[in-house]
Amino acid sequence: MITIFRNLFAPPKHLILLVIAAWIGLTLAEKRAERHGLSKDHLNNLIFYGIVAFIIGGRVSFVLQNIPTFTKSLLDIFSINPDLFDSFGALAITFIAMLIYGQRHNLALWPTLDALTPFFAIIAVGLGLSHLAAGTAFGIPTDLPWAIDLWNAKRHPTQIYEWLASLLTFCLLWFKKSSLHPGLTFLSFTSLTAGWQLFIGGFRSSNILILNVLHQDQVMAWFVLMTCFVLYEFRLKQEKQKPVY
């Protein structure tokens, strides 16, 4: 089953999974946007500009980091190679673009983030599946009965853990019955995601280490989790201080 899936979405076709996830995420986010006081038009525009900024930002960031290689072949700046891409730069520029759009249209930060949460949650599901298809973010070798054959070893199926955890996160937030204060849906999603990334990271074969031992993705997830807790309390405090009429 996994082999069929991996063959069907072998790179570069694994990117199709992210496109499908973005489409489903946008559809679901649209359904709930008005509950958070965000119009469908604003949500669509925000995601559209976000995606455009992500694509352009990723390329611009890559070019800026490799200026000498592009000076010899300037037209390659517009090459269709998806590998000429820097993910961190793309995320940073997407964040800036969405922030500018939000400010120009006077969108409230926390309700907007809440409205975008289903989109982010489905993207996380798609990311787990695309990791499985591409064989990236793979696990450490193990003898466990549910280990998968990957890169010439039996390994923890970390991509499947990731997919299940993100699906569970989405279901928890989508089917929750009580409504939360503005911002808490987004913060719950972020803290849950950081929490399971921190946990699953322990089973991942990471080549990026801090101090030669600690997994960088786990350390980053820990800091994100801590920030979420601080912001969670900050939001609750802000809500309590609101005047009651």
Binding site: P11, T69, D76, S79, P141, S205, N207, L225, F229
Partner: protein, 180 residues
């Protein structure tokens, strides 16, 4: 839940998280991926010995100390054909710095008689090797053509690019990295 209870819960969760980071930290995991051969970034590149159409044999492991681009291609594959001029240009630019290209023709699924005329038509000067049995394609878990593996001087796969054609800028960026 009261504020104090929540703060205690946060602290406990953060302590548990930090403990898990320390517990799951293990330097052997990194060396494990380097000792295993696999066509994936971070692993030792699968070794092979193949011959050129002229009969000259090349073994990947004997090229340790040099940066190698292993490119899997076929004459019937349009993006493979399209990226060959760029690979040739970059090969000439970097070969004096210790860069080698091994272009592995998937002869078992290609027309063997089409390979040599293709090389002559495009004036390719880097070694083109023939995978007549598909053994190397199997070792590299080939799923799409072209597939390119950038291997650093230690014999470890640094980057994998599936699909193409690769642009000159992409080739330069990857090669600069494996030459370091």
């Amino acid at each position: 839940m009261q504020r104090n209870q929540r703060i205690i819960l946060y602290i406990l969760l953060l302590i548990a998280g930090a403990s898990w980071i320390v517990l799951s930290a293990d330097t052997t995991k990194v060396s494990a991926s380097n000792n295993t051969t696999a066509p994936q970034a971070g692993f030792t590149a699968p070794d092979f010995t193949l011959k050129t159409p002229q009969g000259e044999a090349y073994t990947l492991s004997k090229l340790k100390g040099q940066a190698v681009l292993v490119n899997l291609w076929a004459t019937w594959c349009p993006p493979c054909r399209a990226e060959m001029p760029s690979i040739e240009k970059i090969y000439l630019e970097y070969k004096d710095k210790g860069f080698v290209v091994l272009a592995l023709n998937m002869t078992y699924q290609d027309d063997p008689l089409a390979v040599v005329p293709f090389l002559q038509d495009h004036g390719l000067t880097f070694p083109v090797l023939l995978d007549e049995t598909g053994e190397t394609a199997f070792a590299y878990q080939l799923r799409s053509l072209p597939s390119s593996y950038f291997i650093n001087r230690n014999g470890t796969v640094s980057e994998v690019v599936i699909g193409g054609p690769m642009s000159e800028a992409l080739l330069r960026a990857r090669i600069e990295k494996i030459l370091q």
